[in-house]
């Protein structure tokens, strides 16, 4: 393992953003499960975990990763999709959560999808604008597979919230 090269790869990955949520890098999102650089031929192996199985952004993200690494001078890039363990919003970085809130999207709660699935109650969600917790879920689903739609009952603004899975 060449740690200097791995760090350079990670630095490039920090510049690749989620096409739907441009403030988040793929590192913030927690979808990069491992990065290794081969000692022998400097080929790069990246394990990528999809957020949602039908998420149309995944193909774009993979293409963006290849193109960013190619532009940075790396060759022989292997991206592998790994399903297990399944991605969870717990893997989102703390700085990613702060960036999300500043961008106007309520970040996911710490605790991810649990066994209350069949009859669960919605978690408390804080308005990213006025920070009130007096909010109402308008729809369990939102503009992308990873989000739900909320309204703040204090400042009355509607906003997206990251689903906890």
């Amino acid at each position: 393992m060449n740690s200097g090269l791995t760090e350079r790869v990670l630095a490039v990955l920090e510049t690749v953003s989620d096409p739907e949520i441009p403030v988040l890098s793929v590192i913030d999102l927690g979808i990069i499960r491992s990065v290794s650089v081969s000692e022998a031929d400097h080929s790069i192996h990246i394990d990528l975990s999809p957020t949602y199985s039908g998420c149309p952004a995944m193909d774009t993200i993979e293409a963006d990763i290849r193109s960013a690494l190619t532009s940075a001078g790396f060759g022989s890039i292997h991206v592998r999709t790994v399903l297990e363990p399944a991605w969870t919003t717990d893997w989102m970085s703390e700085s990613g959560k702060r960036k999300l809130e500043a961008y106007g999207i309520a970040p996911p709660e710490k605790r991810s999808g649990d066994k209350r699935a069949l009859f669960g109650k919605a978690p408390e969600v804080r308005c990213p604008l006025c920070k009130s917790t007096r909010t109402t879920r308008l729809s369990a689903f939102g503009s992308t597979p990873c989000k739900a739609l909320y309204r703040c009952d204090e400042c009355l603004e509607p906003f997206d919230a990251f689903k906890c899975i």
Partner: protein
């Protein structure tokens, strides 16, 4: 095409076909939902289903000899080669019929995928771990709607009860045993469908009671989907799904 998959492949195709056909049906709601939020919700559900179908087709196709890809499996099989439940190919009807169907199937699917996360097939186990989170979310949404409609206005209650009565005969297929599901159970790749029935009934009964809806008393159930025998609606759904790739088989986006 010539097609005689082994039992293991049939089991994976059954799971994939359920996801694809329901996803295709639900996607018809795009632009037609009762309000924008619910339009988005049902289309998100369709997207999850189609994503799950893709992973399952990829897994099934890799194990075949010769190997087939997801597009060949989805677009170039004929009606009697699809092994999905007949309930999932029925027209959407109104919002009540769509959501009652979703509730019956989501509840079954949640219980099934919960067990698939312990499958002896590592790839299926990984897919199930991913899918279960999505299915849990769907199941919560559809159960909430059944309660909301059943315990809502006179009109919504009537429509929800009509949907329950109309769809109930199609729920028997969930728990039937056949060659591929028995074989999957022996391999410990999947639960025996009949093992899921008491758990399904417990969940469904609880939601129907809360919704104030009556559970039909019925002795006769629809059958056939697991054997590739479908309702008259299946041909039309495949015609819409498949015509473009069949007309332009090598087309690239």
């Amino acid at each position: 095409m010539e097609f005689s998959p082994d039992l293991r492949t049939q089991h994976l195709l059954h799971l994939a076909d359920n996801a694809l056909i329901l996803g295709q049906r639900l996607s018809e709601w795009c632009g037609h939902g009762p309000v924008l939020e619910q339009d988005i919700a049902i289309i998100n559900t369709a997207l999850d289903q189609i994503g799950q179908a893709r992973m399952l087709y990829q897994h099934a196709g890799k194990g075949m000899n010769p190997a087939l890809d997801e597009d060949q499996l989805a677009f170039f099989r004929t009606e009697n080669q699809f092994l999905n439940f007949t309930m999932l190919e029925l027209p959407n009807g109104d919002w009540a019929q769509t959501l009652v169907r979703q509730f019956f199937f989501d509840t079954y699917n949640y219980l099934q995928y919960e067990r698939l996360t312990e499958s002896s097939d590592p790839a299926l186990r990984a897919i199930a771990g991913k899918a279960l989170k999505e299915i849990g979310y769907h199941a919560q949404f559809s159960a909430e709607w059944v309660i909301r409609m059943g315990d809502g206005t006179e009109e919504s209650h009537k429509r929800a009860q009509d949907a329950v009565d109309r769809l109930w005969p199609y729920t028997g297929e969930f728990f039937e045993s056949d060659g591929f599901s028995a074989e999957a159970a022996v391999r410990r790749a999947a639960p025996l469908p009949s093992d899921l029935q008491p758990h399904w009934e417990e969940k469904v009964d609880a939601v129907l009671v809360e919704a104030g809806l009556k559970k039909p008393v019925l002795q006769w159930f629809q059958t056939g989907g697991r054997k590739g025998q479908h309702t008259e609606h299946m041909g039309y759904i495949l015609a819409e799904l498949q015509f473009l790739p069949r007309l332009h088989p090598e087309a690239q986006w």
